[in-house]
């Protein structure tokens, strides 16, 4: 009997250095990511935060003293008003649309179409959206002209499209779809059995909404409204495309303070305004996350 020269099973040669521990620490592979995010996300944020507290004389709160001026207060109040109005209207109509979708066939093509459309429209905004409304109800817009031919004038009391009221209308266009996206999962969590249970206990439609569905959906609805508020509060492009001059809302004020064409640009003051905005948005988003977690508790 001869000795078998070849091994019975052919194995791949041990790779060079394969079995050894890497000489470099393992986190080194994640270092490029942290470095990149550090430079292009954390550094700009740090510049805004530190810039807000520095003026020509060094460390100071002088930049925030500018907040006390009438036009600054007005811009922030207008922003709050615009965001709250568009969030509440958007949340109500978005919830109605979500309910209309949720009561249909859950696997139907129509539902798929509506939720896809909402996914697209929630991202719609900026210059294109502003132009869409100018083409619709601007001075030479489709609806404006059509109404004029029928003896009606939507601008009898002045053109309001380029003012706060106009912005509310335009913002609602992206607020409703966003509300549908965040509210639909909550509606899907509602079981028809709960309604049957209410009825077998003698409750009517009113009791069902008041004592069963209402309290269950309230956190999701409120959370959605808060998300919509943050969404509108930080929006800039749509307003910038629609409103050509003036700083009627906070985001336009920040932009104009940053790049003033008349030489009044002041990065420190712009940073202070930006810091106030980011703090407001952050508070709203934290509240939203808390409400979202509360919703998730019974949704699963």
């Amino acid at each position: 009997m001869t000795v078998i020269e070849r091994p019975l099973v052919e194995t791949v040669r041990r790779p060079l250095g394969g079995g050894r521990r890497l000489a470099m620490p393992q986190w080194i592979a994640a270092a490029p990511f942290f470095l990149y995010v550090g430079i292009f996300l954390l550094l700009p944020t740090a510049i805004v935060v530190s810039g807000a507290f520095i003026d020509s004389a060094g460390l100071s709160l002088a930049n925030f003293a500018t907040m006390n001026q009438r036009f600054v207060i007005n811009a922030f109040l207008n922003s709050v008003l615009l965001s709250a109005t568009s969030a509440i209207i958007g949340a109500v109509f978005g919830a109605l649309l979500a309910y209309a979708v949720a009561t249909g066939n859950p696997n139907g093509a129509f539902r798929r179409l509506v939720s896809s459309a909402c996914g697209v429209l929630a991202q719609f905004g900026g210059v294109t959206l502003a132009f869409a409304f100018i083409a619709t109800i601007g001075g030479a817009g489709f609806i404006t002209l059509w109404l004029q031919q029928h003896g009606m004038n939507i601008y009898a009391n002045g053109v309001w499209l380029y003012q706060l009221r106009g912005l509310v209308l335009v913002y609602i266009y992206f607020q409703i779809p966003l509300m549908v996206l965040v509210f639909l999962p909550a509606l899907d969590g509602i079981r028809p059995q709960w309604r049957e249970a209410t009825e077998s206990l003698g409750g009517g439609t009113w009791h069902y909404w008041r004592y069963v569905a209402g309290p269950l959906l309230a956190p999701a609805f409120l959370g959605g409204t808060l998300l919509l508020f943050a969404n509108a509060f930080s929006a800039y492009a749509t307003a910038a495309a629609l409103v050509n001059q003036g700083s009627i809302i906070a985001s336009l004020l920040i932009a104009n303070t940053l790049t003033s064409e008349v030489g009044l640009a002041n990065p420190g003051i712009a940073s202070a305004f930006a810091l106030v905005m980011v703090v407001i948005v952050a508070v709203v988003m934290v509240l939203y996350t808390l409400l979202q977690q509360r919703t998730a508790r019974w949704l699963q």
Partner: protein, 278 residues
Amino acid sequence: MSRNRRLKLQIFRLAVFVLLGAFFLIPIGAMFEFSTRGVTEDAPRTLNAWLTIAQTPDLVAAILASLGLAVLTSLGMLVLLVPTMIWVRLRLPHLSRVIEFLCLLPLTIPAIVLVAGLAPIYLWMNLNISDSILTLAFVYLVLVLPYAYRALYTGLAAIDVKTLAEAARSLGASWITVMMRVIVPNMPVAILNACLLSVAVVLGEFTIANLLNYVNLQVAIALAGRANATVSIAVAVASLLFAFILLVILSFFGRPRARVAPDAPGLPYPGAAGGGMR
């Protein structure tokens, strides 16, 4: 459900769909209508505005710049995010919360705030590296992080990364081979989704380009609007159609799988605060 209530519900649904459908469709239809108007009020419908796009050098340059930015941003996103996410999943699971937090952070920082901090950085870059519009890809990569992260996260969650990697490693594959030839080919839909979302975000971006004085597609549309409303609306419709097509492709590929593998709880919805698109 009683017949009466079912009827009421159907009437309610119909009313909601018709009213909101009109609200959403009329502005888009009006843009088409506006972009095909003739010069005078009685002039016949014309496609002149659409044909003028190609003959306007500023617009063509801006369109090319935005397409270049979309490609660069998508590539950069893949190079930066894919290896990091795979590596963190395999070897550094304790860092996954940090990565997630950093990737979603751009949602809570409005683009208008980010730009205030970016201005000095870009001033330095313009002086020392390059003042090309393509440098915007650096910050656009940050803007697309939340969307790309979620898309890739869903893709990675759907496959057994650990087993695949261990199997490949035990057969002698290097880490590069594990990533490029084993894990990446197993998540084509997630990678496609991440790229499409990145392209959509980049093509829609206005805030940062405008305030850093670069003319990308959206800024060019806004500028053109002051000279010739019809042409700029035609470009706006074209860019909108393009984004629509991208996102419709996306919704047909991506969504069903996303339902199977739900996202980690507590993730804010993409498109919330940041993005720079509005």
